[in-house]
Symmetry: C2
Subunit: 355 residues, 2 copies
């Protein structure tokens, strides 16, 4: 493998193509995050760390840190909502602060990026083992078979390195033979559910059904959802959750139909500086993601227009689900109430930085 190349999967063309793309500069990493070739809070963090490594390769022998400031800044500006991005950049920044040579900088940025990847695998596995207990309980109570789980967007292994966050309990339950059926919200406008979550679940042979985002409320009223399980791009210290636009609507429906609503997250997604969801910036993306859509016509991926040419569109990427509608948070250290006290009970040290 070329040590000056970082390889990613271009998720924009899933499930129709599995395209591996080479990133050769920190600008490539910026593009990959900004244009959502990679997405999902943990994977954004990991890609940013590898972007720092690519930036280190480009660094002049003199003015190393000046150069890296530009690299951090370019990467930081890509997407505003996922806090893992600044978490990963801060980690690199601290690790390289005292280094003097380019070769040390290259080695350390690679080491931090690899650490983030290894930790991510472990963290996601642990989230899965904790979340598994909730699915097991649901399976044993009332002998629900299959356990029906609704998920929104993609918080699967394509959003992380392995296991995923919200999907990790699902994979663990499936491996243990618990019968499952997953309702997959298509997740407009980028359809990460219909494209990526459905593809991931299919790869593992897990029964699932894709639904329009509009459908979950009715399914909950009909008693066809046992629990909801989603990821998050940033969780405020009071337990308010920022996740893909539309998550809030599902949480409201869950609340009104007594369906448990769980959010799975690595602690790197907790923003200790955000006292509530009101402090979390909401990304506004290109309206063309609403007015146009891409799909497979049997031969190639084509982009078509959905709306009248004269009509404006607004594309808000995330919404805030107030903590009161979140049954519990599932973290790598265990399950806790979505509240400041709950989060502190698992993370008394506050700002979590693995050693």
């Amino acid at each position: 493998m070329d040590p000056e190349v970082v390889q990613i999967i271009d998720q924009r063309v899933l499930p129709h193509q599995l395209a591996v793309v080479d990133l050769r500069s920190h600008h490539d990493a910026v593009m990959a995050i900004k244009e959502m070739w990679v997405r999902g809070a943990p994977l954004i963090g990991a890609t940013a760390a590898f972007g720092c490594y690519l930036g280190a390769l480009e660094a002049p022998e003199k003015g190393l840190h000046h150069h890296m400031q530009t690299v951090y800044s370019d990467l930081h500006k890509t997407r505003p909502t996922a806090v893992n991005l600044s978490w990963a950049l801060d980690r690199v920044r601290k690790a390289v602060a005292d280094l003097q040579t380019k070769s040390d900088l290259i080695k350390m940025t690679m080491a931090v990026a690899q650490d983030i990847v290894e930790e991510d695998v472990k963290i996601c596995r642990d989230i899965g083992l904790h979340g598994l207990s909730l699915i097991e309980t649901m399976h044993h109570s009332n002998e629900r078979s299959p356990v029906q789980i609704l998920t929104h967007c993609n918080a699967g292994r394509m959003a992380t390195i392995e296991w995923g966050t919200a999907t990790s309990p699902i994979y663990h339950a499936h491996e243990r033979g618990i019968p499952l059926h997953i309702w997959v919200d298509e997740t407009r406008p980028r359809n990460q559910g219909a494209r990526i979550t459905a593809w991931e679940l299919g790869e593992r042979g897990i029964p699932h059904t894709v639904i329009a985002d509009n459908t979950g409320g009715l399914l909950m009223r009909q008693g066809k959802v046992d629990l909801c399980l989603v990821g998050t791009d940033r969780t405020a210290s009071n337990g308010d959750v920022a996740n893909k636009i539309g998550t809030y609507l599902k949480a409201l429906a869950a609340h009104h139909n007594n369906v448990p609503f769980y959010v799975a997250l690595p602690s790197s997604s907790i923003d200790w500086n955000a006292s509530s969801g009101d402090d979390i910036p909401i990304e506004e993306r290109d309206p063309e993601e609403i007015t146009h859509i891409s799909g497979f016509d049997g031969e190639v991926i084509r982009r078509v227009q959905l709306t009248p040419g004269e009509s404006a569109a607004l594309n808000l990427g995330f919404d805030i689900t107030p903590a009161e509608f979140v049954t519990a948070l599932i973290t790598e250290r265990g399950i806790c109430p979505a509240s400041e006290q709950g989060i502190r009970s698992l993370f008394p040290e506050g700002n979590y930085c693995p050693t």
Copy 2:
């Protein structure tokens, strides 16, 4: 105009094409309703009545009523949720019950269909004038400018003959110079909002913005929605409302954010036999409406696949919004609470059949 032809607009290709299609048999009318060339509860009723007229043209001189039974039955089976369909068919059936000749049958079916059309225009205009008062009040209170209205699906003139139901108050307010801005839910899977409502509003020069169905909850939290205004395919006698899938989620969000949620309906959409929403059948449509989508590629309308080929999809067409989340019903006779008492206060005679 050929008296043996009924012309419709094929709404499947809006806004990219304005295609007028000739219906030449009752089977054509069946196809037009079933495949959603026409849609929207009032327009389905009117098209069914014209389908009876086309059926009358096909009738043998002997066995008129036996033939018409087949016509009613074919039309009735097209779509289950909109009650206007059976309402219109019942009206034709009663009107022709005693007729003996084919020429009388043809004249009477045409007369009933034309009556339904004329009444629809008047009813929708009256709904608009009653609903206008709510928008005027919102405009004057707190000097909200523009008044921001969220609507779901299409309850506009393309769902009726003229004015629309939910859009009628909007058109009337716009004509009176009240500044408006409409949030248009795209309304997956068939995108009647993004395609038809956006096109209708654009035709009238009414400012509007298309949003993913996932977005309305956040906008309400942000205080950017002054009221919600939707139509209905069937309203139970207790005020529960069946409307396009996803309506329920918006009603929940409106409830939690103190945003008034209004449902506009002609009394032909009231099902006096349904004591609650639980009595209303929910149409399940072809999953390909979820897995595939059509759009304009600049030259032609193309259909592309969105999901992995192996993934199942479920396509439920409507959901039930419990009356407790409906601020009021706007009918042709005025505004009333969404309750049995409220509805009876405007329609004490029950099953409404205009004279």
